[in-house]
């Protein structure tokens, strides 16, 4: 009789490979947002033409930079900042950036797998967790996923890599993210203002 061979089930291997491939693809749409001094956060590329969304508390410095996965570092202009909703819109001088596809929030279910990408503690990182509850409130959603300072402003994505929200804070061990719906509204408002107000701070 042939000796039994211990094998790790293929599902575990392909799960790891897929998370790594998905993270690789999503990384192109994540930037490191920083000012001149220490302390930085993350941001999400919102449009191919150079719009970047992050948290207001990340975009607090006077002069901001966005660091890309391909190691480019560009100056970022602050288009709008809403401290109450903790959102900020930046613009970099670049074209052909890769924006993330937004997720349909109404289809989300508690327990779904989610990925967080960003620059916690300075380095880029990906973590995997689940959605804690279906998003009821259009502004916030909660996830059971490990994030750290520096993840702020970075994307929370579903298993297909669609943007669910941006990671903003940790409360009682759960990650609170601002939903893509709230970001859409904020960007629409900010761009409407853009024509007559250069910066809204």
């Amino acid at each position: 009789m042939a000796a039994a061979v211990n094998r790790i089930p293929a599902i575990g291997i392909s799960l790891g490979q897929e998370v790594s491939a998905l993270a690789e693809r999503l990384r192109k749409s994540v930037v490191r947002v920083g000012g001149m001094g220490p302390g930085s956060g993350s941001g999400v590329i919102w449009s191919a033409a150079g719009l970047i969304v992050t948290n207001a508390h990340v975009a607090a410095a006077e002069r901001l930079h966005a660091g890309f996965a391909d190691r480019r570092r560009l100056e970022a202009q602050l288009i709008a900042r809403d401290p109450r909703r903790d959102l900020a819109l930046l613009k970099v001088n670049a074209a052909n950036l890769v924006a993330l596809e937004p997720c349909d929030l109404s289809s989300l279910r508690a327990g779904e797998a989610v990925l967080a990408l960003g620059y916690p503690m300075g380095g880029d990182a990906v973590t995997v967790g689940i959605l804690h509850a279906a998003p009821l409130d259009a502004h916030w959603l909660t996830a059971d996923i490990r994030v750290a300072p520096g993840n702020s402003g970075g994307p929370l994505c579903d298993a297909q890599g669609r943007l669910v929200g941006i990671n903003t804070m940790v409360v009682d061990g759960l990650t609170l993210a601002i939903t893509v719906r709230a970001i859409e509204r904020f960007v629409a408002r900010s761009q409407g203002r853009q024509s007559h107000v250069a910066t809204a701070v």
């Binding site: 599902i11 392909s14 799960l15 897929e18 998370v19 998905l22 279910r109 508690a110 327990g111 779904e112 797998a113 967790g129 689940i130 959605l131 804690h132 509850a133 279906a134 009821l136 909660t142 059971d144 579903d158 298993a159 297909q160 009682d172 061990g173 759960l174």
Partner: protein
């Protein structure tokens, strides 16, 4: 698009949805409410400590309807309380066979909040140990250690496996950990709570401390036991006093089994022991002796 990651994600969400059908929200527990589990038809189980002595609770069912429930009984030993719902319910917990559990298995802690609906956190089983006794005397059949974050309101909810089957009821453990009362324990406790309203525990009316029995003493008394339990207290009117036991006696065996740890005594006095005879061997003044006593039920 199909992939292992998407399948994995969908199966987790399916498991949460399935298990969520038997998880309710209990409005008054804690600051933001706690969870409860429909264990049998019309019976909700929750973590006893969250009730804080109340005899009634407002329950939000998976359907979103609100109803009331009356406490049928609580067991501080296992932190399990059983409540009878005033409205009929459908859906009850589907139990996972505990013998199939392995370290590394994916588990989810399911709860419910009145407004946000079903809630979940994700983790794995990090260790499976033997049964143990809680400090308050409850017998837990399987010791489960989890790599899983507790969250506000998770107490009284369920721990499920990847298929949505209930492994047990979650409550707060030490150091911000999750303690899962396994489904066999919950089932046993719930049956007794519904029958009697409480968990009977045996009582003989003694306070004990482990002591060594030196070799010289062993030789002179003709016993082969290096330790026993010294009686520090014999309660007036208790079974031990009635059987003639005195402070200073050293307990050696119970029904022929050596005892040297108070937990062994506690284990022998479980709910099945009430009313039964207990034959104990003792050392009194260095001389062996034997008495028989009848185990009473501990007052509440």
């Amino acid at each position: 698009m199909s992939s292992t990651l998407i399948d994995f994600s969908n199966s987790l969400a399916d498991a949460v949805e399935q298990a969520g059908k038997s998880v309710v929200a209990i409005v008054e527990g804690g600051q933001t409410g706690v969870s409860g589990t429909i264990w049998r038809e019309g019976v909700v189980v929750t973590a006893a400590h969250t009730l804080r002595g109340r005899d009634e609770a407002t329950v939000v069912l998976p359907s979103g309807d609100t109803t009331t429930a009356t406490v049928a009984g609580r067991d501080p030993g296992t932190d399990i309380a059983a409540l009878r719902l005033s409205a009929p319910t459908t859906g009850k917990a589907q139990l996972a066979p505990l013998q199939d559990l392995k370290v590394g298995h994916v588990v989810l802690a399911i709860g419910r909040r009145p407004k946000s609906g079903v809630t979940a956190s994700y983790g794995i089983i990090s260790a499976i140990g033997e049964g143990f006794r809680t400090w308050s005397g409850g017998r837990i059949d399987v010791g489960l250690r989890l790599d899983l974050s507790p969250y506000r309101g998770f107490s009284g909810g369920t721990l499920i496996d990847g298929q949505g089957r209930v492994i047990g009821i979650n409550t707060s453990g030490p150091h911000r950990s999750v303690l899962t009362i396994p489904n066999t324990t919950v089932d046993r406790v719930v049956t007794q709570l519904l029958e009697k309203g409480h968990i009977a525990r045996g009582y003989i009316g003694v306070g004990v401390q482990p002591v060594e029995i030196g070799e010289a003493m062993q030789r002179s008394a003709g016993v082969k036991q290096a330790a026993g339990l010294l009686l520090l207290m014999v309660s007036p009117g208790g079974p031990a006093e009635e059987a003639g036991l005195l402070v200073g006696d050293i307990l050696l065996t119970m029904n022929g089994t050596a005892v040297s740890d108070p937990r062994e005594l506690q284990a022998a006095l479980d709910s099945a022991s009430v009313g039964k005879q207990l034959k104990v061997a003792i050392l009194r003044g260095g001389k062996p002796s034997e008495v028989t006593l009848t185990i009473a039920e501990r007052g509440r």
